[in-house]
Subunit: 156 residues, 2 copies
């Protein structure tokens, strides 16, 4: 297959990496936020720029930190090192200030200055699966994002 | 903000756009699929190449086809025309053939030859939200992806 490079660029970046987490969208794109305040959650697409290097982008398998003796493909986990270091986080919206291009989030696992690529609302009909099967190493993990914080605190 | 271009490239493409939908991953990346067969659903990240043009990439607001008289920002809907034409679809896995880089899916809303950018497993703790609020025009839409097909058939 011909490897054709695609034109991707940041539309904004993370400007505060603690609560309330903040994303500043470039002024050019503020209009694109219209009505996003009507949703409770967004998918934030971001670029794992710390892993945008040849070594990390050619990594195809990895030892899972949360599963003993399991080596999985990067497409079977959420590792930030992968051929295209795109990450997506589902984030609870705290506030949207369209005029200033400011998005406040209850949480995002991206660092300060991380480039943001895209934003989409979380819509149950596209995003919420009733019957899900995951690999066995997730057997004891929570069934819902709302239960993530307490789970990870208990297992630290 | 400095607009720095990021290096993105296809890892594969859609090779069959009807059931069972098929994605062929380039041979270079097949190893990255290891253990993906243990999951029931994947997020397929794809490039809406039909909309990779200046006009569509500078579109910031749009009339919603499913809501009368509503103009929303592209970051408040799933329109494929947006500054970075990245799309993501949550797809039920039918089969994974790691050796040949073939992924069979029950459904994907991407066309034949659409470039694929990334693949991640669907994991409830990251992806499943119990309490979701959406814009009012989704009030009568299904709460689950499993109910999408019958809903859209009834409303065609």
């Amino acid at each position: 297959m011909e490897i054709k490079e695609l034109k991707l660029f940041p539309i904004g970046k993370v400007v505060n990496a603690s609560y309330p987490f903040q994303i500043k969208i470039d002024d050019t794109f503020c209009q694109g936020l219209k009505h996003l305040e009507l949703f409770s959650h967004v998918h934030i697409f971001w670029w794992a720029d710390k892993h945008d290097n040849e070594k990390d982008r050619s990594t195809l398998v990895t030892d899972l930190p949360y599963a003993n003796n399991v080596t999985a493909g990067v497409f079977a986990c959420r590792a930030p090192y992968r051929p295209n270091p795109i990450a997506v986080t589902t984030c609870p919206i705290v506030n949207i200030d369209q005029n200033n291009g400011m998005i406040e989030l209850a949480y995002i696992d991206a660092e300060l200055n991380t480039p943001v690529l895209d934003i989409k609302p979380y819509i149950p009909v596209s995003d919420r699966i009733k019957e899900v099967k995951t690999a066995y190493w997730f057997d004891n993990w929570p069934e819902w994002m709302e239960d993530a914080a307490s789970f990870f605190t208990e297992h630290e």
